[in-house]
């Protein structure tokens, strides 16, 4: 990326000016302004935003500054900058149990990107690993670069690839799996893996960061440390999400993937367990894993059933929603629908009728609740009873996201409506519970 000679985000005028004096990106230059002033610094590419006529210069004191091309007289190139070669030997892979780090993208691997001026997932895992030397003392880490995508570009086909990669690592003898993932859809992926691995030889620990790892305050350092530690030490072999337990550093909460939900757009303690408690915690200062759950899937033989159906829709009911939205999905050949109803799982008359038509057409329709907390109950009000009669499937106390991942996984195995109904209601990975403890309601404020 550093080799780009001229930068797309500058105007033709700027590029012409630079070309005239033989300056390229990262040239160290002495710029003589038309009024006689002299500015020295490195010519930088510019972000995709702002005025393309303004040249960005990294001043000798480290500051970036912008000067309009019209003010520039002459440019004297002093030196063409070449990026420094990394000093020191490549870190060794470390000691202890084998952990596989599977990188998929996201803030945790982010660095400054000149094309957009924003944080962009472009860090290589090697570079990332150099940043976490303490991992060497807890595990021997294998690095797998699977994707480099934004979390929002994750989808069921990529879950299939992800599952295959995890399975391969487990077959290869990894004793812990850590998936580095963008946080926005991490809980979907973690839920998906919970179903794909019926049992596993190692925990699958998803982690990411809310504050990018290019900053000293990033939560990524402790999140990665705790995740690698948990992946090799934990007695459970489930798919989990491991992130900060509070706004403070020091304690990492491990949530079951099927129970995790991102509840805040930016806080580091954004993830909480819904209708459940975390399965474990990691005290980062002491380097200790503390179990919170008593029953869990133990490490065992890996039974992997990969594959997800990418023709499942997850939609939210809203007041005034028209049944046509559902009809459209049926007409477009979708294989299943999860709809987030209100309260106990209700929708309007118009949507009710449309859902009836969808079931009639052979699509499983799962109803979840948009209250996030609590469970669906179609027995209490008439509208619920009507829906039940039409053949929709209540999601129980599963979150909408988990219901979506589960339906996607089920539909990749069977399209038989009765079998789907049975499987949705069958607990597979602690995603369903008959009991909701009073304590399992928390807004994540700490």
């Amino acid at each position: 990326m550093l080799a780009l000679a001229f930068f797309v985000s500058y105007s033709d005028k700027v590029n012409a000016k630079l070309r005239e004096f033989g300056a390229v990106m990262f040239s160290k230059a002495r710029i003589r302004m038309r009024d006689g002033e002299v500015i020295e610094g490195i010519i930088l590419p510019r972000p995709d935003v702002g005025d393309p006529d303004v040249v960005i210069i990294k001043h000798e004191n480290g500051y970036n500054v912008g000067v309009h091309v019209d003010g520039i007289g002459e440019i004297e190139v002093l030196q063409v900058y070449s990026p420094p070669t990394r000093a020191g030997p490549r870190p060794s892979s470390g000691n202890g149990p084998r952990a596989a780090l599977i990188a998929t993208g996201g803030t945790i691997m982010s660095k400054v990107d000149y094309a957009t001026g924003a944080v962009y997932p472009s860090f290589s895992l090697d570079e990332l690993y150099e940043m976490y030397p303490e991992l060497r003392s807890i595990a021997s880490v294998e690095l797998i670069n699977l994707f480099s995508i934004f979390s929002e570009d994750m989808n069921p086909s990529r879950w299939t690839e992800m599952g295959d990669a995890i399975n391969k690592a487990m077959q290869g003898g990894a004793e812990g799996i850590v998936v580095l993932h963008g946080t926005d859809t991490m809980h979907y992926s973690a839920a998906a893996m919970s179903f794909a691995f019926r049992s596993a030889a190692a925990p699958i620990v998803f982690t990411g960061s809310q504050r990018s790892s290019d900053r000293p305050s990033s939560d990524s350092f402790e999140n990665i440390y705790a995740s690698v530690l948990a992946s090799v030490k934990a007695p459970f072999a489930e798919s989990v999400v491991s992130m900060h337990a509070s706004s403070s550093d020091g304690l990492i909460a491990i949530h079951r993937g099927v129970r995790a939900r991102k509840m805040h757009s930016s806080r580091r303690d954004a993830f909480v367990s819904i209708n459940a408690k975390p399965i474990a915690f990691v005290d980062v200062t002491k380097g200790e894993l503390k179990m919170a759950a008593t029953s869990f899937k133990q490490r065992g033989e890996t039974v992997y059933e990969g594959g997800f159906d990418d023709r499942v829709a997850l939609i939210k009911y809203y007041p005034g929603m028209d049944g046509e939205v559902i009809d459209y999905l049926v007409d477009r050949g979708y294989h299943g629908i999860v709809i987030e109803g209100t309260g106990f799982g209700h929708v309007s008359e118009s949507v009710r009728d449309a859902l009836g038509r969808a079931v009639e057409a052979g699509l499983p329709v799962v109803v979840s609740t948009q209250t996030i907390y609590g469970r669906v109950n179609l027995n209490v009000y008439r509208r619920g009873v009507e829906l039940e009669k039409l053949g929709v499937i209540p999601s129980g106390d599963m979150s909408s996201e988990t219901a979506y991942a589960k339906l996607s996984w089920i539909l990749a195995r069977t399209r038989d409506l009765e079998e789907v109904r049975r499987l949705v209601a069958t607990p597979m990975a602690f995603e369903l519970s008959e009991r909701t403890e009073p304590i399992n309601y928390c807004l994540g404020v700490s």
Partner: protein, 615 residues
């Protein structure tokens, strides 16, 4: 004194409605915080792939930072739990106004940078800062002051204390806008540098957008001598300390060069840490310091430093020896309290016999003693000490130092390089538009030399004018002069602020601003309702009651209203007949004495004239 170069960095806190990158108020709080959070920080790579030495230094100290916040005046931005909001335009236009005043050229686009600072004073691990203008020049008292850059940045969190490895910060100050003015190096005498610092800071205050009071203007000095190095002295608490800090730092650099020459003259070579356990040599020592460490199972280690006799104790600044520089480093880098060196022993309860025993054990005459519980810490401290000694072979190390109250300085951290800057990617560059520049032009502050000339031109003495400029009330003075200047002299108005306000200061318990009382008194005077003398008396009472009673009510209560010309005429007639004289001087004296504070001498003269011409 040796030739020196000094650059100034003046930081002025702005009194904007909200912080630079969030909409929290810019008020400091002293009530109990509502919550605390704990964090650790790590250095990050700069965009050019280097790690900054100052950042690494702090990281190695493995500190835990505790942040205190308030639900109603701290938001997720200060907690580094939410990206920054857009830059405060009020602050930006003020910075541009200051730039114009100092003839600095605004950049066409302002780009916010992250300056890595991982001493914990910023929750993010960096300070957001942006250059606004460059290459200015001002002349003050015939001194040319090159203005290198003007930056707008966020203030850091307030350090509240330390508790073991924890450092406690309060988030109220974090994010308050600061204007930073950096001058080029100047070769003026220390006193002139002080005047320039005053000039720059006060001129920013004249925007009316600056905070007042303790800590609202902070100055850093970059000092170097020929053959020395650029040393940054941070946080010089008072202007008056600037000359001393410069003088002492110049002395320090001169003395460090002497040490370098002496090391070479002695033919010494850089050291490596050669540590010997001398706990048993001090087994029965009377030194409390050593005893308490040993009783807790700790050790005393000696670093062998052959050939350094006389150098360890060499004085660099008043009461600060080369050994003090070494101890500074140990304290900054480790949890140890300091060290003892052979040039200061026997002392501190260590006897000459013990010193001899250590010398014969080590086989050298010069050494440093370190004591502590953890051996690993002693080893680390020894490395730190030896590194610093080895720097002495080169002369003066580039570093950031903190000013002590007596003007001497102590080590703070290595000098940060430009590697600690990278773009704040959560914010878009701000284009400096014509509209923004026009707004800024209307905010341009009056330079204090012009302000002084203006006051003297109004009839104030130079001394009074200077007092007004130095006071935080010049804008109030200007405002009242513009309203009442025709009827109350600028000198009267000014002296009420610089003199009267001293005894009716803003103490605790005031429910109103004392300026309200002064303004009311001036209005009564300007309207001819009270005399000049009565102002003082009324305000004194107003102060006693802490502003709880209006000045006019006090005047009424005390019968201080000015007597009308008719009353004066009557009084003059009565007095003349009572005293049986027509001597103007005698009558005047008597009348003024009896009606003190309620009567205007001019009215008395006029009445006397009429009286004498009629009789």
């Amino acid at each position: 004194m040796v030739k020196h170069k000094v650059g100034l960095e003046i930081h002025v806190q702005l009194d904007t409605e909200s912080k630079l990158f969030c909409r929290c108020p810019t008020t400091l709080r002293n009530d109990d915080p509502h919550f605390t959070i704990k964090r650790r920080l790590r250095p990050s790579m700069s965009e050019l792939g280097q790690v900054d030495p100052a950042a690494l230094w702090e990281f190695r100290k493995r500190r835990v930072y505790v942040y205190e916040g308030y639900n109603d005046s701290t938001c997720l931005v200060e907690l580094d739990e939410e990206p920054p909001h857009d830059m405060n335009e009020e602050a930006l236009s003020t910075a541009l106004a200051v730039s114009m005043r100092f003839n600095a050229k605004p950049f066409d686009e302002v780009i916010v940078m992250r300056k890595v600072v991982i001493d914990g004073s910023n929750t993010s691990g960096f300070q957001r800062t942006a250059l606004v203008a460059r290459n200015g020049l001002v002349t003050f008292m015939d001194l040319k002051v090159p203005i290198w850059t003007i930056a707008l940045e966020e203030d850091a969190a307030r350090r509240m204390g330390e508790n073991g490895r924890e450092v406690i910060y309060r988030l109220d100050r974090l994010g308050i806008p600061l204007i930073e003015i950096s001058t080029g190096p100047m070769e003026y005498p220390p006193n002139a540098i002080m005047d320039i610092a005053f000039y720059l800071g006060q001129t920013v205050r004249n925007t009316g957008k600056a905070k007042r009071g303790l800590g609202s203007i902070r100055q850093d000095l970059n000092i170097s001598i020929e053959g020395g190095a650029k040393v940054e002295v941070k946080g010089v608490p008072e202007l008056s300390l600037i000359p001393k800090v410069i003088q002492y730092e110049v002395e320090r650099q001169v003395n460090l060069l002497k040490i370098r020459d002496e090391l070479n003259r002695r033919g010494l070579k850089p050291y490596s840490p050669d540590l010997v356990d001398v706990t048993s040599e001090l087994a029965s020592t009377k030194s409390n310091l050593i005893r308490s460490v040993v009783e807790q199972g700790g050790k005393v280690m000696a670093i062998k430093l052959p050939g350094l006799s006389g150098i360890l104790g060499f004085e660099l600044q008043p009461k600060r020896r080369f050994g003090s520089e070494l101890a500074d480093r140990v304290r900054s880098w480790t949890e140890l309290g300091g060290l003892l060196h052979s040039d200061e022993l026997p002392n501190y309860g260590i006897t000459s016999e013990e010193v001899e025993r250590i010398k014969s054990r080590l086989g050298v005459d010069s050494f440093i003693l370190l004591s502590g519980i953890e051996e690993s810490e002693l080893v680390e401290a020894a490395t730190v000490v030896v590194d610093r000694i080895n720097e002495a072979f080169k002369g003066v190390p580039e570093e950031t130092r903190a000013a002590n109250d007596d003007g001497t300085t102590k080590f703070l951290r290595p000098r940060p390089g430009s590697a600690r800057m990278y773009p704040e990617t959560d914010l878009r560059p701000v284009r400096i538009t014509k509209a923004l520049l026009e707004r800024a032009a209307s905010l341009m502050p009056e330079p204090i030399d012009e302000q002084l000339r203006r006051y003297v031109g109004m009839g104030m003495s130079r001394e009074l004018a200077m007092q007004v400029v130095r006071s935080p009330y010049s804008r109030d003075v200007d405002r009242l002069i513009s309203i009442y200047g025709g009827k109350a002299s600028p000198t009267l108005i000014a002296s009420l602020f610089v003199n009267t306000l001293k005894y009716i200061g803003r103490e605790e318990g005031w429910s109103v601003d004392p300026i309200v009382g002064i303004e009311e008194a001036i209005k009564l005077y300007a309207d001819g309702k009270i005399t000049r003398e009565a102002i003082g008396e009324a305000l004194e009472e107003y102060a006693k009651r802490r502003g709880s009673t209006r000045v006019e009510d006090i005047v009424r209560e005390r019968g201080l209203f000015k007597l009308s010309p008719e009353d004066v005429e009557r009084i003059v007639r009565d007095t003349a007949s009572k005293l049986g004289t027509s001597s103007e001087a005698v009558i005047m004296q008597e009348v003024m004495k009896r009606y003190r504070g309620r009567i205007d001498a001019r009215d008395v003269s006029a009445a006397l004239k009429r009286f004498n011409s009629s009789s």
